[in-house]
């Protein structure tokens, strides 16, 4: 099978892949759910409501066509196949699991009791079937974030597991920098967890969906920009100086523009946010990281121009987004880069952020 044999190892680097989507099916979660939650799924065929009107971007929908399983299960649902196609062929030292979109307890728009039960079941399933079955895999704590108390309880329940490295928050129409949500960041910091933000189905056009997928997908970085702006000006990083946030799957090329824009606004409007005592760009440089994927085709000169704009080599972390249709190849997505920048992007920037990875934390 050709698809399993393509080697994708970047030379001389052991990769940390910061966005891998393992896939659960409702039946997998049943053993981890109690009644009545189990019964709502079994008896009433409960399913999470989804909104995206277009799921057709590529020939296998939202998945890489060659990642589908021959027995009909969806891409990302079999660890052995993932090992063969991704972890072994990509030379992964570590991979961070970020879940899949369906079901996604953290992005439910109501019935948070169900969301919380689903999040706990998901976390237990993830630990047993993925984190404890491959030493390279590390996990994300799923929470029903809009119900802050139960979310914090869940972080305390599983956040100390040695292989949990971050709390996952969805990018949708909630601005997570609001003080109401700060206990989530507090709990993450207590357990030495980063916070990963991954878009789910953000309504990128003024709270609505545009007509076409191509518009929606083009504008996803705007949802990331809103969250970064919101976190910084709401003082999240002033309140939790140890907090690290990874913006997942929005790319990074927008960051230099945003940092410059926020600094300029701060010079004019500091009086409104007097708790901010540093330039926003400095806060972002210290606390926020961005994944590479989805990479635009860039040559080395274009790429280095973005690095210059960031004024830092420490802010970008490689990610594949396996097994989704807009997967990035470890050897083909980025232009050729010199050491040590190459090593930082493929490996050490992520290790510095994820304290609990072996060799992780500030070096």
């Amino acid at each position: 099978m050709s698809k399993a044999l393509m080697l994708e190892k970047p030379k001389g680097i052991r990769l940390v892949d910061t966005d891998i989507h393992e896939r659960v099916q409702y039946a997998d979660l049943l053993p981890y759910l109690e009644d009545p939650w189990r019964r709502y799924i079994l008896d009433c065929e409960w399913k999470q409501e989804k909104h995206l009107p277009y799921t057709q971007p590529a020939i296998a929908g939202l998945d890489r066509a060659d990642a589908r399983l021959s027995d009909g299960r969806p891409a990302g649902s079999d660890l052995d196949f993932m090992k063969q196609q991704l972890l072994d062929s990509g030379g992964h030292e570590f991979g961070i699991l970020t879940g899949a979109l369906d079901p996604s307890p953290s992005s439910m728009n109501g019935w948070y009791e169900m969301g919380a039960a689903l999040a706990s079941a998901y976390n237990d399933w993830q630990i047993e079937h993925w984190l404890e079955r491959d030493e390279r895999l590390y996990g994300s704590v799923h929470i029903a974030a809009k119900d802050v108390q139960t979310a914090v309880r869940e972080i305390h329940r599983v956040g100390s597991h040695p292989k949990m490295v971050q709390v996952l928050l969805p990018l949708d129409d909630t601005l997570w920098g609001d003080p109401y949500y700060h206990p989530i960041f507090e709990a993450a910091v207590q357990h030495r967890l980063a916070v990963g933000m991954h878009h789910n189905e953000p309504p990128v056009y003024y709270g609505k969906f545009p007509r076409y997928f191509i518009e929606w997908h083009t504008m996803i970085p705007t949802a990331h920009m809103m969250q970064v702006t919101n976190l910084v000006f709401n003082g999240v990083f002033e309140k939790f100086p140890a907090l690290k946030v990874l913006m997942i799957e929005g790319g990074f090329t927008f960051a230099p523009f945003l940092m410059r824009k926020m600094d300029e606004q701060y010079r004019h409007l500091r009086h409104e946010v007097p708790w901010i005592k540093r330039m926003p760009s400095e806060i972002i440089r210290n606390h926020i990281r961005f994944t590479t994927q989805p990479m635009d085709e860039m040559n080395r000169k274009d790429f280095m121009r973005v690095i210059e704009g960031l004024e830092s080599e420490d802010m970008i972390c490689f990610s594949t987004d396996y097994p989704h249709w807009d997967y990035d190849s470890p050897i083909r997505a980025l232009p050729s880069l010199d050491f040590p920048l190459k090593e930082k992007i493929y490996s050490t920037n992520a290790k510095a952020m994820y304290e609990k990875l072996p060799g992780g934390g500030r070096q």
Partner: protein, 118 residues
């Protein structure tokens, strides 16, 4: 260099198949009319194996927003990863960016054998 890569009956019209031309991975595409075409099996973009993609048609360019016409069945090769479309019968041109083409190979049919020539 000339190399027999398969028999004509090995690939049905409208299907494609992976093969080797010397060391090179290639993809053989057979249109619905039965004609063979051969290209490098590595996508121009990030190198996906094109044989894992799909030989299909495409919504062809139209003049009116909102108008769709799905045509050219069996002539468009879509990549299994990011879905770029390559025009099999027009030199492997990328539909969205025709200046970029898949590397292609000549095909000659000798009796029932498919011969790749370069």
């Amino acid at each position: 260099m000339r190399q027999v890569v398969c028999k004509t009956s090995d690939v049905n019209p409208g299907e494609m198949q992976e093969a080797r031309f010397g060391e090179l991975p290639i993809v053989l595409c057979r249109t619905l009319e039965g004609k063979f075409y051969a290209f490098s099996n590595r996508c121009l973009h990030q190198g996906a194996s094109l044989a894992d993609g799909m030989l299909c048609g495409a919504p062809v360019p139209t003049d009116t927003p909102g108008e769709y016409r799905y045509e050219r069945e069996g002539q468009i090769l879509r990549c299994p990863w990011h879905g770029r479309e390559f025009d099999v019968v027009n030199g492997g041109q990328m539909l969205a960016d025709p200046a970029r083409c898949l590397p292609r190979f000549q095909i000659e049919i000798e009796d029932d054998r498919v011969v790749v020539v370069r």
